[in-house]
């Protein structure tokens, strides 16, 4: 093996090729930021990476990230509980599903961002408005997937469960619930995406304590190093949160996958 073929063999792995492209982009960014772009607007990635320490040393930033994570967790918990309750109510009753599902889909399709100022008016500029806006973004996808999951149950399973003498609770526990689990976790993933979007939109709109306050501060101070460091950290957190929920989704969908 000569030295020339080693990188070529490495590039033959998809993962290595992906890293290579990311590395090339980082190098371009580094060169552009060091020599071609005004340092008031762009910081080189090496400086951003080294500056992450200074972002979190800024007074109030760790607390702000904590506040935002708390808002996301609270909004997600409420969205899951509400989405599950409404989704089961609509999914298990034919009449209520046909009556209310079109309304749910209509509301889900509305651009909720237009009513963000109202949330601030009603819930204040503190965490409550962020949690509320996260909840309205996260609940609808959970309702829709839970209803779809309950709907997909083959009627023969319900009929045979009843024929074998299962009561309503037993039917729910042993037939409906296991069938709902995979779509429920899909809903949780979509709900988490919605909650993150809602909370961050509200944070960026007006914030006194969360991360929105600091993104505004760093922007107005022309401090791209800390701005990119903070945004990059939050983006990484979003990827991790999504990956966690996705892993749960795959794990709980596994049981019915083979020849289902």
């Amino acid at each position: 093996m000569t030295a020339a073929t080693a990188p070529r063999r490495l590039a033959a792995r998809p993962f290595a090729a992906r890293l290579l492209v990311i590395a090339i982009l980082l190098v371009i960014w580094e060169i552009a930021a060091r020599w071609f772009v005004d340092p008031l607007f762009l910081a080189p990635p090496s400086k951003v990476a080294l500056g992450i320490g200074s972002v979190f040393a800024t007074k109030g930033v760790p607390a702000a990230v904590g506040v935002t994570l708390l808002e996301v967790s609270a909004a997600f918990a409420i969205a899951v509980a509400a989405g599950l309750a409404v989704g089961l109510t609509l999914g298990l009753n034919d009449f209520s599903r046909r009556s209310f599902m079109p309304m749910v889909l209509l509301l889900y399709g509305l651009p909720q961002i237009t009513i963000l100022p109202l949330f601030v008016l009603y819930f204040g500029i503190g965490p409550a408005s962020k949690i509320a806006f996260g909840v309205t973004h996260g609940t609808f996808p959970i309702i829709v997937t839970v209803v779809a999951g309950v709907q997909n149950i083959k009627p023969i399973l319900l009929v045979s469960a009843r024929a074998m003498g299962a009561g309503p609770w037993q039917t729910f526990r042993h037939v409906i619930f296991p069938h709902m689990i995979p779509s429920f976790f899909t809903g949780m993933r979509l709900g988490m995406t919605g909650v993150l979007l809602g909370v961050l939109l509200a944070e960026l709109y007006v914030s006194t304590a969360g991360i929105g306050y600091f993104t505004t501060l760093f922007t107005q101070n022309f401090d791209p190093t800390r701005l990119l460091g903070l945004v990059g950290t939050l983006a990484a957190m979003a990827i991790v949160l999504n990956a966690m929920v996705r892993r749960l989704e795959v794990r709980f969908a596994r049981w019915r996958d083979p020849r289902g």
């Binding site: 033959a12 998809p14 993962f15 090729a17 992906r18 492209v21 990311i22 607007f41 762009l42 298990l92 009753n93 034919d94 009449f95 046909r98 009556s99 209310f100 079109p102 309304m103 399709g109 509305l110 651009p111 961002i113 237009t114 009513i115 963000l116 100022p117 109202l118 601030v120 008016l121 009603y122 009627p155 319900l158 009929v159 995406t193 993150l196 979007l197 961050l200 939109l201 960026l204 709109y205 993104t215 505004t216 760093f218 922007t219 022309f222 791209p224 701005l227 990119l228 945004v231 939050l234 983006a235 979003a238 990827i239 999504n242």
Partner: protein
């Protein structure tokens, strides 16, 4: 859960509920503002909102903001659709490239990219360019992922058959790849359009000088509640019209 469905009466009941709930909500809204003493600043009278909406529509004062928003949307979507389809096609050409880059694009798509708005405002200012850039960035991902999926999942048998019958590259693209991938790409483009609209109204709401999102914020800060509610209704209607229009276009484009 009852497997028995009584079609006739059930359908009337469903219609009754669907009509009754909005009417009841409207009545509660009206009573809350007139009888139950809910503050006018928190919740304007629905009649006042309807009058304000009529005034906004009659005077045509919405035209300037609507034009700003629609121009931003058109430019952003043009950028994301062309670049998304071009990049998606290049990535989809070999299964190696799909395995290398599709997870990367999907991972970025899972980030709430609205986070980058402060950076875009720093780079492009408060005017339309930062909205266009953000809308184009966010809507690029659904388009590129759909294009990769569309071109990437063409039946190998079809490609081999076309090749063995002597199809040139261009013919292969025109008669095999494009027809197979088109429905998926157009679905991605529709999603991209919706996402671009939302991100543009969103970024106008968060930081801007003009546009429909900016108008709502301006009215909210001026506590002009009836006019603010009227504009919310107007923007929701515009969004609904645009979404219905692109859904029609998608259905038209998918027809065999």
């Amino acid at each position: 859960m009852s497997p028995v469905r009584r079609r006739g009466p059930g359908r009337i009941g469903v219609r009754a509920v669907q009509l009754g709930v909005p009417v009841a909500l409207l009545a509660i809204w009206y009573l809350a503002t007139t009888r139950w003493g809910v503050s006018r600043i928190l919740l304007p009278n629905p009649v006042a909102v309807a009058q304000a909406l009529g005034h906004v529509l009659a005077t045509g004062e919405f035209v300037a903001d609507l034009r700003v928003t629609l121009t931003e949307l058109a430019i952003a979507f043009a950028i994301s659709a062309t670049s998304g389809i071009a990049v998606g096609y290049l990535v989809s050409r070999t299964s190696f490239r799909i395995r290398a880059f599709e997870p990367l694009l999907a991972a970025i798509y899972s980030v709430p990219l609205i986070l980058f708005l402060p950076i875009y405002v720093l780079w492009f200012g408060l005017g339309p360019p930062s909205k266009i850039a953000l809308g184009a960035t966010i809507s690029f991902f659904p388009v590129v992922l759909a294009t990769v999926a569309g071109f990437g999942n063409v039946d190998r048998m079809m490609v081999t058959a076309a090749r063995s019958m002597g199809a040139s590259d261009l013919q292969l693209f025109r008669f095999v790849l494009l027809p197979a991938a088109f429905p998926v790409i157009i679905a991605g483009a529709r999603l991209g359009f919706t996402v671009a609209l939302l991100s543009i109204i969103g970024s106008e709401t968060l930081a801007s000088l003009a546009g429909l999102g900016h108008k709502i914020v301006e009215l909210s800060e001026g506590m002009e509640m009836p006019r603010m509610f009227a504009y919310i209704a107007f923007v929701v209607a515009i969004a609904a019209i645009l979404n219905i229009a692109v859904s029609r276009l998608e259905a038209w484009g998918r027809r065999p």
